[in-house]
């Protein structure tokens, strides 16, 4: 069974009397541990799709199954719990909280998970995660004391700390120079192959998309190509 299944998902924004259809019937699948790039021109609806995939938004119509569970009917609270457990986000602008240290930034999702972890346990897991992204020596630095690449690594550590199944990255290298971009992409590659984390990267850089096993192209709210891995063949190792 695929991890992500979209079936004829539509999203329409209502601006006053005007209906603005952004997604016009998207159907796609992503298998477990797949590495997928989502490409499209700006205004094509890829961000909206990303929001729906990331359970930040609900589709106007259509079905969305994540790990076999129907998502479209969940309340805001249920979706918040789902995001906390299953989904990690990496943003273009890192979105770290400037007044907290790297460790505290990474720890944040754990504070919202309802496992009743002790403070010590939370800190241990966060430190482990920072170590994994290669920032063991920067644990107590604040974001402003870190370089862009390091900041994005902290953000990645944060997205992984709750052991999610899917990682969504929205232009993760958009604010980085080419060398650090390469490092981050390498890290993604490693996470995908070693930890079998499903990765979905939104980008319009073909160089970034090349790292993925499959590229889904979106145009005007419809999928142009790469809707499912079955056609592409042995995408899953």
């Amino acid at each position: 069974m695929d991890l992500i299944e979209l079936n004829n998902v539509c999203k329409t924004y209502h601006l006053g009397e005007l209906d603005l259809p952004v997604l016009k019937g998207i159907s796609m699948q992503v298998a477990r541990a797949e590495y997928v790039a989502l490409m499209g021109a700006s205004g094509s609806g890829k961000s909206t799709l990303m929001n729906i995939l990331g359970c930040l938004d609900r589709p106007t119509s259509g079905e969305y199954r994540l790990d076999g569970r129907e998502i479209s009917g969940l309340t805001a609270k249920e979706r918040a719990r789902l995001r906390n457990r299953m989904i990690g986000f990496v943003f273009q602008s890192f979105n770290l909280l400037p007044r907290m240290t790297a460790l505290e930034n990474v720890l944040m999702p754990l504070a919202y998970c309802r496992d009743n972890l002790t403070e010590g346990e939370m800190e241990r897991r966060s430190a482990e995660m920072l170590e994994k992204v290669g920032l063991a020596h920067r644990i107590h630095h604040k974001p402003l004391q870190l370089s862009g690449g390091e900041q994005q690594r902290v953000a990645i550590a944060r997205s992984l700390v709750n052991r999610p199944q899917v990682l969504f990255a929205d232009e993760p290298t958009g604010n980085l120079d080419s060398r650090t971009s390469e490092e981050i992409l390498q890290l993604f590659q490693q996470l995908n192959s070693e930890d079998r984390i499903t990765l979905i990267i939104v980008t319009h850089d073909p160089g970034v998309a090349r790292h993925a096993q499959r590229t889904i192209r979106i145009m005007d709210g419809l999928i142009e190509s790469g809707a499912s891995s079955s056609g592409a063949g042995a995408g899953v190792p």
């Binding site: 929001n51 990331g54 930040l56 938004d57 805001a76 609270k77 918040a80 719990r81 995001r83 906390n84 457990r85 986000f89 943003f91 979105n95 909280l97 007044r99 907290m100 944040m108 999702p109 504070a111 919202y112 998970c113 009743n116 403070e119 944060r158 997205s159 709750n162």
Partner: protein, 457 residues
Amino acid sequence: MKIYRTLKMASLALRHNVMRAALTTLGIVIGVAAVITMMEIGNGAKVAIQRTMASMGANTVVVLPGAVSVAGVNTGLGAMMNLTPQDADAIMRECPPVSWVAPIVRARAQVVYGNRNWVPTYIYGTTPLFLDIRDWNDMHEGEAFTQHEVLNSSKVCIIGQTVVKELFAGESPVGKHIRIRNVDFKVIGVLRKKGANLMGLDQDDILLAPWTTIKYRVVAASLSGGNQSSTSNAGAGELNTLNMIYPNLQQNLYYTQTATEQTDAQPPIRFPNVDQILTAARSGDQIPAAIQHISSLLRQRHRLRHSDPDDFSIRDMTEITKTMASTAEMMTQLLLCVAMISLVVGGIGIMNIMLVSVTERTREIGLRMAVGAEPGDILRQFLSEAVMLCMLGGTMGILLGRASSYVVSLVLRWPTAISVGAVVAAVLVSASVGITFGFYPAYKASRLDPIEALRYE
């Protein structure tokens, strides 16, 4: 999410912008400090007012003898001779709501010093407790007489300022001797000036002496009370006839008792009566209890049956006590108004800054929601920040308020009383101000759409 994390996050957020937090909370600090200071000074003022009222005699309860009717002619209140010094002692002993008791023997007589004379409005024979009841303890000069001098019926007296002015004209009266009805009194003290009472009578026109002295050495002849009939009987023979004018006329003017009738008739009982008993209740609200206690005690001591009316009457200063109660009431209400206004102003400041803070941290809210914060978590975070701000303000306000009321008590010499109630109220009120005024911004934050919040610049 655990309380510890919530508080840690809130304190982190507040520490991020210390200056702003401090200025915001200043409204609450000032509000709470004002409330505490006002309450404490108010309490002190209330105590002071009560003390002043007490010195005016607000707590005094006066026991007067009842009226007698002789052959249909009512003598008016105070004519009966049935209050004794023993009654006074019994009241002191057996009535818990009464703090002080002083018997009073009145006289009206000429006071002579050298070539001057004066008739004081009040010549009171009493005990030293009279001064406690009237709050007149600190003497202008000299000292008061003692209980010992009462027992000795010593010929000592203390006099008010008016008497000093009239008799001594600039001399110090202490140690001088004055005469009252040819009885020689040594002046041992001068009372502090008190001025006129509520009725306009000069309270300083007074002479106080041990009641035993006034009773037995001064009044004995003139106000002998119970003896009046027997003594006047002696002279009655002379008045009961017109034979000075018409020596031959033997007719009596009115009927006189025969010798047999005189022995049959109950002779007037002579015991040392006093003209009134002055008592003070322990506090204003104990006055009714004091009256009840005194009344039942005196009925018992005077052996009155249930059907008998009281042979005495008890007076209190209802007018003054009512004024006192309403003054205190008004003061409390006024302070409450001030408190409400200042705290509402402070609360609006908190709300304002929390709204700014929510707007400023929109991206943070979006991020927190994206990583799994539920709306409730966000609500709790901002609410706890507001409450923490208010509680901090409240704590500082309590300290500041205590300090300023202390300063006021030092500088203005107002009596201030620590008010635990005010402190508790301030803490509760500042917390509830935090919740009330922090709720709207926090609610607004929790309703944000994570997508838009994340995109917010």
